[in-house]
Amino acid sequence: MQRWTTILFLTGLSIVLFAIITPLVLGQSPMLVGKLINASAVNDTGAANLVTAVVLAYRGLDTLGELAILFTAATAIGIILGTTDKTQTTSSPTAGFIVATAAKVLFPLLLVFALYIILHGHLTPGGGFQGGAVLAAAFFLLTLADSGNNIKHKVTQVIEALAGTAFIVLGLVSFALQGVFLQPWLDKGELGSLFSAGSLPLLYLALGLKVGAELANLLSSLANVEK
């Protein structure tokens, strides 16, 4: 009986959702704000990647809030799981030859790749979040390969704090200079070159480091739950 009511409910839900969603014809959205942003983004920010212009300039406060949410989640997980700061007294098994070798080869590659993604965020797809995720993966790979080489909690904490502060301070500097928080400043440079788009690459660098440290923190506290 309960099974049938469940099925009935879900069928009804799908029909309702289908009725709501179907009139949204693909590719014909009105794009009121999008057109305006497309027309003015290059002029306003100097970033070749318009998504970056939206993420960091037009909707910069969303990004700050999102960063804060990640930080909140990491902090709350730290409280819930009670991160034990002891430096691995229990002898957990080593990862074995294959992973250890792979980590040695992959770690520098991943590091370079992450920095590339972060620093070219204003030119190509990618940016602080994606690069930060790769960065966290690189450091977590080291931990996997050699469990003695635990992610240093204190170091990530300092990086986390400094990177987050850097993001806000970059916004506050523009507040002090122009009276507007998170307005792009610095010289916009030549469109498409690495040193362009003013303060956006700096913001992305801070963002990437923050996200990387945050995710590494999160992974290490999930991995170090006392048995």
Binding site: L17, G27, V42
Partner: protein, 144 residues
């Protein structure tokens, strides 16, 4: 028959189907399942379905990715002509935000699941609810 052929060959139709399926499976996982881990997975599916709908809102027919590739071409008019044909970048930015938020919430939920499992040794929501009520009564009567 022709109408059905048209509908089934539309990409739009299949995107809708996939997103609706993800949303419905996600709601089923959260509302009807008794297992805490399944609830977390359901949450992930639900968020994925909603994100597909959100990013779909920015798509334009025969438009290009919102990145200016001809960097050497510094003529402003050329750049404007290129950007006029681009898809809407705003939903992409919003989905990026939504994904990161969802990741944080799910990690938090998983850590709670770990804690609950360590405490009670089970992840069945009915058993856990009874255990919670029992704990509450114990703590109310024990304070004296």
């Amino acid at each position: 028959m022709m109408i059905w052929d048209d509908i089934f060959l539309e990409v739009d139709f299949w995107i809708n189907i996939v997103s609706i399926a993800l949303i419905v499976i996600g709601i089923y996982g959260i509302v009807f399942s008794q297992h805490l881990l399944r609830m977390v997975f359901g949450l992930g599916l639900l968020e994925a379905g909603v994100n597909i709908l959100l990013v779909k809102a920015g798509y334009q027919k025969e438009a290009i990715a919102p990145i200016v590739t001809q960097a050497s071409d510094t003529m402003m008019s050329n750049i404007l002509a290129a950007t006029a044909q681009m898809v809407d970048p705003v939903p992409q930015a919003m989905v990026l935000t939504a994904i990161v938020i969802a990741a944080g919430v799910q990690a938090l939920a998983l850590s709670l699941v770990i804690r609950i499992y360590k405490k009670y040794g089970t992840l069945d929501s009915h058993v856990l609810f009874l255990a919670m009520e029992r704990d509450r009564h114990l703590s109310l009567n024990q304070k004296d």
